[in-house]
Every structure is written in structure tokens, then in C-alpha cells.
Amino acid sequence: MTWLGKTQLARRKALWGLALILPNTLGLLIFFGLPILASFLTSFYHWNPFEGREYAGLSNFIELSKDEVFRKSLWNTLKLLAMVIPGQIILSLGVAILLNQRLYGRVIFRTAYFLPVVTSTVAASIVWTWIFQPRYGLVGNLLEPFGLRDTAWLTRPNLVLIPIAVVTVWQRLGFNMILFLAGLQSVPRILHEAALIDGATPWQRFRYITLPMLSPTTFLVAVLSFINGFQIFDQVFIMTARTLRGGVNGSARTPALYLYEKGFQDSEFGYASTIALALFVIILSVTIFQLRIQRLWVYYESEDAA
């Protein structure tokens, strides 16, 4: 028992510690660790309920690299991200800046902007499907002056990603607004005061103090939007359910939806695991890449002090 500690007290404490962490660690091992490992291994197998499991080497990966459907789903995600990330940053930063002043009814505004965060994506997507319904929906009626009344947003391959991006931004805006508000609160006041003495205009103070000091938050919002963007599933599943799931010609299919179709509709466990691995590698590598990039341009106060 000496490996636990030198004194009897240390050994007793070590045993207590191990006992305390046991349930969660064991659970994480069984319900997260094992499936993650098995998923990695399964991507090297052909496996479905009808033909059984058979080692396949890299053939799943070769197939995936030529898979037009998968490639299109990645392309769809990039198009979604091109709308979601800038929209998310500009809108939530804008609202946070407006809210970060002495105003009556701040709490009411904050409630209104945050409310979509707590609603389920499924219910939100159903409501937005109805909003984007051609002819009878809210969007069609409001955009009638632009001739968009009968636009079939959800069945036109070149438009279908717009409603999906709108729901995504609408639902996450409040979340990112809170992050930006926390960031704004932490900008040292002394910087603004020093700039005032130097005669800086409000715009200059925003451009040269607030914005650089917020760069860690902006970066965080971008990374979170990216990670979430590559996992978009609920919105697409629901919003294209009534027309054609995944959109006409797969114009709204995301990698997560493709994974679901391959794994749970076609029961191709091996190939679906390969898709999952690819998805994971993309998310992980871009996260690592962005973490390296941020050292170059994100301003951290602690670096300055060092």
C-alpha cells in the first residue's frame, strides 16, 4: 500500500480521493472513452447488420475522399459558417456595446435577446420553418415589396442555407452577447481615461482601445461558432423535414446529417464512423490552428505586463 502515500494519513486520504472520483471517472470511461476508442477502430472496418464486420483497411477513408455527398456537406458547412460567424460577431458585439451603458430597461432588453438561447432548437426551427413558408409566412409578407413573397426559401438549393443561418444566429446571439458584455466590462477604465486626456474621439477609443481589448472574446466567439457550425444537425433535420430532408440535391445536408443518415438509416456503422472521425479531425485541427494563430493577433493583457 506504500504506493498510495508515505504516512498512514496520506494513504487514507488517497483512498478517499480515489473513491470520490471513481463513479464519474468510471462512467466517463465506459460511456465516453470506450465508444470514442471503438469509433476510431471501427472506421477501419466494413460493418453493417446484414454482412457483419470485416476488416477493410483504409478503404473507408479512400471512399470518403471521393465521396461527392460528403464533400458537398463540407462545402455547405463552409457556406453556412461564412454567414454565421460574421453575422454572429457583428450583431452580438453591436448589441453588447449598446447594452453596455446606463440605460433604462437594460434587464428587459437583455431578456429579449437571451430568450432564444433557452428555447429548444427543434421548437425554434419549427417556428422559423413557418416564418419562412412561402406566401403565408411572416418573411414573405414582410419582404413583399422586394418581390420575395412567394420565394420558396427551403426548397431552392441556392437559398436554403439562409434560413438555417438565420435560426443559428438568432439562437446564439444572446449567448455571445453575454460573452461580449463580460469582455467589455473587463476593459480597464484607465485606458479610456488616458486616451481622453490625449483628446481621442469616441470612435478612436472604440477602434484603438475597446476593439483590441475585446479580441480574446471575439476569438472565443469565432471558435465556438466554428465548432458549433460543424455540428449543425437539429436545424437542418427539422427545417427540411417537410420538403426533402437535407434539401434539394443535398443543398442543406451537413456532415452531421450525413453521419446520421449513413449510421442510422443505412446502418453502415463502419463508414459512418469514418465520417465521424473526419468530422472530429476537422474540428480539432482547426481549433489547434486557431489557437496558434491567436498568439499572433489576439491581445492579452498579461503579455504586456511580462
Binding site: P23, F31, P35, N100, F109, T119, V122, D234
Partner: protein
């Protein structure tokens, strides 16, 4: 905002513009809720009206001429007799996961925060590494595991994998690390064992973290869709999000009933948010910092 310095107070024209922009944005954010509410109370013949309204006549679209909330409610239950069961199943799943995570993660958080044992740092690093792996990366295998355990279409399948969490572990460990060690030492001298110390000393001092944990977990579980969709397809264990998705998938479901269903599924979280708003906001700051 009480201590806003004088130079940060905007001149009145800028202030009016701020109010205007914020109010416009708030209306846009709330509009889907109003549209949901109004459609949920519209009779079928009002759904397909073509009003050709100007934006300032919006209220005409939002206020039903003949509100039939009660009839739509009844018709929803005629169409989906088990709707209340779905709501109940969601509530059970939520309760199970929150309680389970609370127990496993406060224990583990305390263990990692205050006890020295061999392999502690490696085990903790492994747990935290799990945070980087999204469910979708291993959902096939997770499903197969649950299937092999015979837990498909059971509450075990819905709840048990959700009772372990690296995120909650991290949250509670951080909270416990903030508490001065002296308090525990005093309790130890009085002969309290670690479980008693956790319950009587540590947890009462971490109520804000507990509240944030509860609202985050309740919200995430109630709104969970992908996992229940995969693991539970029988009516007995169907949760509300899956029930709604099925209703939406039937092309002949009229929109007023769908909006009524969405309303009933959303209402519990909206009410919870109105009451515990502070903890939701604090929860976001905590998650943001953690990621």
C-alpha cells in the same frame, strides 16, 4: 452600471439612437415567439390568408381575428394523445441527468480538488480531454453500446450516459478550489469524514455554481434532440423534442397545431428562465470561460 464615469455617458441624441436600435433588435428577436403564439391560437382559415400588409400593419398578422387557443389545444391532444407523456418523459430525463451529474460530479470535483492520489493529474487531464470530443464523433458506438446493454427505448438509455460529465466535473472542481482549506481542517478536527465535509461545508459554499450547473444542465437536457432521436423511438420513452419532430415530419399537420406544440415545449424553459435569469447569465459566462 451604477458607476459609469461621466465621459462614458452618451449625449442625448446618441442615447435615443441606442434605444431605437435596441428596441428594434429586441422586437426582431421576440417576433418569432409572438408569431408562434398568434399562430397557435388561429383557426385554420386564418392560416392561409394573404393580407398583403405593410410592415407597420404587422399587428394585423399577429393578432388572430377569432382566437381559438382552447380548440387548437384540444385538437393537438386529439392528434397526439401522448403529448403529455412526451412532456413527462422529458421531465424525467432532465431530473435523472441533473441528479446523476450532481452526485457523480460533486464527488469527483471534490476528489480532484482536495485529495492527493497516484495518477490524479493524468486522470484529470483525460477527463478534460473528453470535452473536446463532440457526441457526434462517437454517437454510432454510443448507440451500439446502449443497444448491446439492452437499453434501447428505456430511460436507462436516455439518462445513464448523461449522468457523467467532464464539464460539470470541471465546474465543481474550480468552485471547490476557491474555498479556503481552513474550513475543511476545522471540520476534520471535529471528526467529520470527507462526505460530511462535502455536504455540510463545501456544497453550501458553492450555491452559485450549483445554481448555474442546474440551469445549464436542465436547459441542455430538456432541449436535447439527437441522442433521444437515436436511442429512443418507442412512444413510451419518447421525449418532447422527438415528438415535435415527428409531428413536423407529417406533412398534413396544420401549422397552428405545430405552433401550439412548440409553445407547450418551449414554455417550461421560458418560465424557468424568467425566474432564474441571473443564473442562466452566470452560467454562460462560466461556460464561455471554460471552453
Amino acid at each position: 452600471m451604477k458607476d459609469t464615469p461621466h465621459w462614458a455617458i452618451l449625449p442625448w441624441p446618441a442615447k435615443i439612437i441606442s434605444y431605437g436600435l435596441l428596441a428594434f433588435g429586441a422586437v426582431v428577436m421576440i417576433l418569432p415567439f409572438l408569431w408562434m403564439l398568434s399562430t397557435a391560437c388561429k383557426p385554420p382559415q386564418e392560416l392561409n390568408k394573404l393580407p398583403r400588409l405593410k410592415p407597420w400593419e404587422l399587428h394585423q398578422m399577429l393578432i388572430p381575428e377569432n382566437a381559438v387557443c382552447r380548440e387548437n389545444y384540444d385538437r393537438l391532444y386529439e392528434r397526439v394523445p401522448l403529448f403529455n407523456d412526451y412532456l413527462r418523459n422529458s421531465a424525467l430525463m432532465t431530473l435523472g441527468r441533473v441528479l446523476g451529474q450532481f452526485i457523480t460530479c460533486t464527488l469527483a470535483g471534490y476528489g480532484f480538488a482536495r485529495f492527493r492520489f497516484p495518477g490524479r493529474n493524468i486522470l484529470f487531464a483525460l477527463c478534460i480531454a473528453l470535452l473536446m470530443v463532440p457526441l457526434q464523433a462517437f454517437i454510432i458506438q454510443e448507440f451500439l453500446l446502449i443497444r448491446d446493454l439492452g437499453w434501447r427505448d428505456t430511460f436507462y438509455g436516455l439518462i445513464v450516459p448523461g449522468t457523467f460529465s467532464a464539464f460539470a466535473l470541471f465546474m465543481f472542481r474550480q468552485a471547490f478550489l476557491q474555498i479556503p482549506v481552513e474550513l475543511e481542517e476545522a471540520a476534520e478536527l471535529d471528526g467529520a469524514n470527507p462526505l460530511q465535509i462535502l455536504w455540510y461545508v463545501m456544497l453550501p459554499l458553492t450555491t452559485p455554481t450549483i445554481a448555474a450547473f442546474v440551469v445549464i444542465t436542465v436547459q441542455a437536457t430538456w432541449n436535447d434532440f439527437l441522442w433521444p432521436l437515436v436511442v429512443s423511438n418507442s412512444p413510451d420513452t419518447r421525449v418532447i423534442t422527438v415528438g415535435l419532430a415527428l409531428l413536423q415530419g407529417q406533412r398534413d399537420t396544420p401549422w397552428n397545431l405545430l405552433m401550439m406544440g412548440s409553445l407547450l415545449a418551449t414554455l417550461p424553459m421560458v418560465i424557468l428562465f424568467m425566474i432564474l435569469q441571473r443564473y442562466f447569465i452566470e452560467g454562460v459566462s462560466m461556460t464561455g470561460v471554460q471552453r
